[in-house]
């Protein structure tokens, strides 16, 4: 599959990924109910239950497109009719109306599905959506859990008109995307994914939680930098052919450090620092005043 040349940047929110995953898990578990539930009623042999074919789920993604940036915020489920290989249009319109009431800024950007690869039949659905959005996106999630995989099993496809064998055809092309998030989203994803303490706890556990979050992030940064370093060393030794474009990128990355270095920044930074120290000082004073003698005098002179 060629990669997209439309120049659009895609931003995907984690909510969409969790939505699709939840939809898939739900449909899968309804189709193959857990053995404990049905052993009395049906007499179905549970060991014969394992799915032969994981079900495909379909849905619609909504969001905003601002200029060249397409931001996918949310998604909802759709009904698929295997007979006509198309999505239930009335249902889509109804759902879209409902979502418009709560999120008036979002509109249909495309559709999603689960599976390992884009298929021919997907093109039908894609074309059908083209009358809502002239260039819909297709988000594909691969639900098979493969622990060796390091990358998110989510691919975004765009459709492009290519001339193949003299016939102009629409084919799917890969598009690259970044994960975009708002602060609140990041915190709740962190919360569920990384087992932060759920209650306030003492100041010590809060501190530990905060620092460990930053520590893991820095560890990641470190490992990435090491990979680059290793690569450059190998290139220097001559083990890997010299790739100038990559070298240019690395050089420009290095030249971006230090990130900010100006007098004004230092001033502002130190001012912020001092403000926080002042707050700490005030808090200490308040704390001490609590322990001072509770006489008729007020604790504040």
């Amino acid at each position: 599959m060629a990669s997209s040349s439309s120049g659009l940047t895609f931003k995907l929110h984690p909510l969409v990924i969790l939505n699709i995953s939840d939809h898939y898990t739900r449909v899968k578990s309804q189709l193959h109910p857990p053995p404990s539930v049905h052993d009395a009623s049906n007499g179905v042999d549970p060991s014969a239950a394992p799915p032969a074919d994981p079900p495909r789920v379909y849905g619609c993604v909504i969001g905003v497109q601002r200029g060249r940036t397409v931001e996918i915020f949310n998604s909802f489920e759709l009904l698929y009719e295997p007979a006509t290989h198309s999505l239930d249009r009335a249902f889509l319109d109804k759902k879209q109306e409902l979502y418009k009431k709560v999120f008036p800024n979002f509109y249909v950007l495309g559709w999603y599905s689960t599976g390992s690869d884009a298929e021919e039949s997907d093109m039908h659905i894609h074309k059908a959506l083209m009358d809502i959005n002239e260039s819909p996106v297709y988000v594909l999630l691969n639900p098979s859990i493969n622990h060796a995989q390091k990358d998110l099993p989510v691919t975004i496809y765009e459709s492009e008109l290519h001339v193949i064998d003299g016939i102009p055809q629409l084919i799917f092309v890969h598009a690259s995307y970044t994960i975009e998030t708002v602060e609140a989203e990041r915190i709740s994803v962190d919360h569920v994914a990384h087992l932060k303490p759920s209650d306030g706890g003492t100041a010590a556990t809060q501190l530990a939680a905060h620092l460990t979050g930053i520590h893991s992030a820095i560890k990641m940064l470190n490992s990435r930098v090491r990979v680059l370093h290793h690569y450059l060393l190998a290139m220097q030794k001559g083990e890997i052919p010299c790739e100038n474009s990559l070298l240019r990128q690395v050089s420009s990355l290095l030249r971006r450090l230090p990130a900010i270095e100006s007098g004004k920044f230092q001033d502002d930074f130190l001012m912020e620092y001092n403000d926080t120290l002042l707050i700490t000082y005030l808090a200490m004073l308040t704390n001490c005043s609590r322990h001072s003698r509770r006489g008729g005098r007020t604790p504040f002179v």
């Binding site: 984690p14 909510l15 990924i17 939505n19 939840d22 898939y24 898990t25 739900r26 899968k28 578990s29 309804q30 109910p33 053995p35 404990s36 239950a49 394992p50 909802f76 489920e77 759902k95 009431k101 709560v102 859990i145 998110l152 994960i179 708002v182 602060e183 609140a184 990041r186 915190i187 709740s188 994803v189 569920v192 994914a193 932060k196 759920s198 209650d199 003492t202 100041a203 501190l207 905060h210 620092l211 979050g213 992030a217 820095i218 990641m220 230090p258 990130a259 930074f269 620092y273 120290l277 707050i279 700490t280 005030l282 308040t286 609590r290 509770r294 006489g295 008729g296 007020t298 604790p299």
Partner: protein, 372 residues
């Protein structure tokens, strides 16, 4: 590095215990060949069992029947994002799920196009048509659960039920059992770096709880503190745990590969300036109040201690105003210091590159924490 890794593993295990996230892995089904089915079994909606539970109504005899809430990762994310998107306006929505013994399970949540939920009881009435439409389309799309509660946001003033909320919830608990009320504070979530959420159920009218529930202390702004105090005995909080499917955990793990950039680049100090300023001014007002009270009582040491004995939060120890203020100030300070730490770390990482030329002017870290 190895020692660090094993320490990290131990720390993670400790948190897995301390925290309440239960990854629905095959804990009970280790030997079961259909492991994958068993692990995501919470996602299966059992019609028959649910209907039977509805008919039995075990909660009608015991107002304290439901004790726990399990929220799915997806529901939490949706609720927090929706609450945050409202900014300073309270927003509300409904939660769908099912019950499981003494636990209410929330599988999904959706927003309602209603505003101003703190001004009237049963604001949901406006959105009945929306609710019906949404539930119908959901059932068609394969989400079979019923509405099992409502959530709304208290931007900036904590997770508790106001007078209006209590009335709304009592109404709900009369006609729509089993029903749960959830409150989210998106402003505090962002400021503190952890999710501020509370799940509540009200007691029926006139019911006196047998023992005072011990609830977690939280700071309430002055203008809301009366509303809080009047009604805080009429409801109780439920324990919240979270769950996610195996696919969810897998995806979330992989998501971290892209996410760490956001963690490092988040700047809570910048984003929460307004909120912190508001908190500090509120604290100043509370201090003035406390000072006035102290100044007026000449027989301070004799009268003050018994007067201040408030059972405000179910704690029978002396909880003078000044103690509360101290706790509030400590909380604000801790959050600020955390934010500053992130800034300092980022500065060291990305700015102090040419160390041979500059003298290292930044100290190694901020001052020690305020002791609480």
């Amino acid at each position: 590095m190895d020692a660090l890794a094993s320490q990290a593993a131990i720390a993670q295990k400790t948190w897995e215990l301390e925290n309440n996230v239960i990854t629905t892995t095959a804990s009970a089904a280790a030997a079961d060949p259909s492991k994958l089915d068993q692990s995501d079994s919470i996602f299966f909606y059992d019609d028959v069992a649910q209907v039977k539970f509805q008919q039995d109504k075990p909660w009608s005899n015991d107002p304290h029947y439901f004790k726990r809430v399990k929220i799915s990762a997806l529901a939490l994310l949706k609720m927090v994002v929706h609450a945050r998107s409202g900014g300073t306006i309270e927003v509300m929505g409904l939660m769908q799920g099912k019950t499981d013994g003494d636990a209410i399970i929330v599988m999904d949540a959706f927003a309602l196009p209603v505003e101003g939920t703190e001004t009237r009881v049963n604001a949901q009435a406006d959105a009945y048509e929306y609710m019906v439409d949404y539930s119908q389309t959901n059932k068609q799309a394969g989400r079979l659960e019923n509405v099992v509660g409502w959530y709304h946001s208290h931007p900036g003033y904590g997770c508790w039920l106001s007078g209006i909320d209590v009335s709304t919830q009592m109404l709900n608990q009369q006609f729509q059992e089993p029903f749960l009320a959830v409150v989210i504070d998106p402003t505090r979530t962002v400021s503190a770096g952890k999710v501020e959420i509370g799940a509540f159920r009200t007691y029926p009218e006139g019911y006196k709880p047998p023992d005072d529930p011990v609830s977690e202390y939280q700071t309430i702004p002055l203008n809301k503190i009366e509303d809080f105090g009047v009604h805080c005995k009429q409801y109780y909080a439920l324990d919240i745990t979270y769950f996610k499917s195996s696919l969810d955990s897998h995806l979330l793990d992989l998501l971290w590969n892209k996410y760490w950039v956001n963690t490092l680049s988040s700047s809570p100090l910048l984003g929460n300036g307004d909120y912190v300023a508001g908190q500090i001014s509120d604290l100043a007002e509370k201090l003035e109040q406390a000072e006035n009270q102290l100044a007026h009582t000449r027989l301070g040491p004799l009268i003050a201690p018994p007067q201040r004995k408030k059972e405000f939060f179910g704690e029978l120890q002396e909880d003078s105003q000044l103690t509360k203020i101290t706790r509030d100030s400590a909380k604000i300070t801790v959050e600020q210091v955390h934010g500053l730490m992130s800034q300092v770390i980022k500065d060291i990482l990305f700015n102090s590159v040419r160390q041979s030329q500059k003298s290292c002017s930044e100290p190694s870290g901020p001052e020690p924490m305020v002791e609480t």
